[in-house]
């Protein structure tokens, strides 16, 4: 009974931590974007704008929660819930440190993560469909096509790591990286994985489902108040998720000299989150067909070549 209680407390702690981190990121992103784009960003509420999150939360809670009369009510409400739930659920298998995490020892941990990311696309598609408006529908369709395409080589990219460790267990994968991080032998697996991860999180330069200069706000055009807030938080939570899974798979998880494991893990994740934000600050948005052909014609062959070479080297007995 105690074990159940302990894991329950851990789960709640992780859940709260992610939500708070995601909320904090909404502020951090705007300040960093401002810094990189040579402007100020929100700096009025509280010291250096730190209370901006509180102001935003008050605003979003007190807005009218409006469901359009032409929308499909049930699915319209369910969509943001699906997105947020699947993102948060995927954190269950992430090892946060030695013996920390909700169930990092799951024997299909990596597959569980892939499954949750592939389910989260339902929320986006259903939001687009149930809104019953053209902009939202187009955004939802783009999300569906983009996610399916990029999921293919996301799955293929991680197979390299699985081949080297012989396990889907994320804790085993971290343990296998005590000497060399997998980013070195698997660099051409890491690159497609990170790119696919950015696409799964619908972040710029892959945020065509909500490309605001052509689709209004894309799949969440009709959403307001806290339903929109859930999409918003889910986006930041999935940035944290993709960052942490990249660190676990390719950057040795919590391993590192001198500092305690948790600090290393937080530092590495922080670096990736900053990288995500830098990408948004620096890159323009591609055209939709460019996005699709980039995925299928460049990334997919690259991952397959990576797999073949990794396999050949392993057969030849070279690590």
């Amino acid at each position: 009974m105690n074990a159940i209680l302990l894991s329950l407390i851990q789960a709640v702690a992780v859940l709260l931590g992610i939500t708070l981190l995601a909320a904090g990121l909404t502020f951090a992103e705007r300040r960093l974007l401002g810094f990189w784009q040579d402007r100020l960003g929100p700096n009025r509420v509280g010291w250096q704008g730190t209370l901006q999150i509180v102001a935003d939360m008050i605003k979003i809670f007190f807005k009218q929660d409006w469901t359009p009369p032409f929308a499909d009510k049930i699915i319209f409400t369910a969509a943001p819930i699906i997105v947020l739930t699947t993102v948060v659920l995927a954190f269950a298998v992430i090892p946060l440190g030695p013996l920390a995490g909700i169930m990092p020892n799951l024997n299909i941990g990596l597959l569980f993560f892939l499954g949750m990311t592939s389910l989260s696309v339902y929320g986006v598609i259903l939001a687009g469909w149930s809104s019953n408006s053209k902009f939202a529908l187009l955004g939802g369709m783009r999300a569906a096509a983009q996610t399916i395409s990029y999921e293919v080589f996301m799955g293929l990219a991680v197979v390299g790591v699985v081949m080297l460790t012989g396990s889907f267990n994320l804790e085993t994968i971290v343990a296998a990286q005590t000497r060399v991080w997998f980013v070195i032998p698997q660099f051409f697996g890491f690159l497609p994985f990170l790119i696919a991860g950015i696409a799964e999180a619908h972040r710029l330069p892959f945020d065509l489902p909500e490309g605001e200069n052509e689709l209004g706000a894309g799949f969440h055009t009709e959403y307001s108040s806290m339903k929109f807030g859930m999409f918003f938080i889910a986006e930041y939570a999935s940035i944290v998720l993709i960052s942490s899974i990249t660190v676990v798979l390719y950057f040795g998880g919590w391993h590192g000299p001198w500092l305690p494991p948790a600090v290393w893990f937080a530092l590495k994740i922080g670096a990736f989150i900053a990288f995500f934000i830098l990408l948004r600050a620096a890159l323009p948005r591609p055209r939709y067909d460019q996005l699709m052909s980039y995925g299928w014609k460049l990334m997919l062959p690259l991952t397959i070549a990576n797999l073949a070479i990794t396999g050949a080297l392993m057969l030849g007995g070279i690590e």
Binding site: I75, I108, L111, G115, L119, I125, G140, M141, A144, T147
Partner: protein, 171 residues
């Protein structure tokens, strides 16, 4: 009967899968049918997991629920279903249309019941099948099935390529 935690999860997931499948086939709105089918697949994944096949469970979620059903959804979304389409659809679901499915289902159910009563049905022995075991099996003893499936996929790919080409190039 002594029910362990696993058994309770198994029966709950199985009941959930059955219920959502029943809902899926009786909906007039194809989108609701599809979504219920997705839920049923998720229920099946839990059933697989409790039976000691975690790899099959994960594939059920990633491949069926996460990829194939998304494609179905994609097509349904493009069809732009409105009230008239749904009304026409429910017009097709008359009473007589259920007769054959019910008879066929009753036959299958009878066989299942017979097997269960004889006690020869598979009991869920907790023997966990590892992903490695599945892979080895696939590429050694079941290689013919894998090759057949890949040939089928290749045919599909060529067909899709042909349909996708511009009309001028097709002639």
């Amino acid at each position: 009967m002594n029910l362990s935690g696993y058994d309770i999860v198994f029966y709950a997931a199985a009941a959930f899968a059955l219920l959502t499948t029943a809902i899926a086939i009786t909906r007039a709105n194809p989108l609701y049918g599809l979504l219920n089918f997705v839920l049923s697949l998720l229920g099946m994944a839990v059933v697989f997991y409790t039976l000691g096949a975690p790899f099959a469970a994960a594939l059920e979620v990633i491949v069926y629920a996460g990829a194939i059903m998304v494609l179905f959804l994609f097509v349904v979304m493009m069809l732009r279903l409105d009230r008239t389409a749904i009304a026409r659809e429910s017009g097709w679901l008359t009473r007589t249309i259920w007769i054959i499915p019910i008879l066929a289902g009753a036959a299958l159910g009878g066989e299942l019941l017979y097997g269960l009563l004889r006690g020869t049905g598979p009991t869920h022995a907790h023997h966990i099948v590892s992903p490695q075991a599945v892979g080895l099996e696939l590429f050694t003893s079941d290689i013919a099935a894998v090759e057949l499936a890949s040939m089928l996929l290749l045919a599909g790919l060529i067909g899709a390529y042909h349909l996708g080409r511009p009309a001028r190039a097709r002639d």
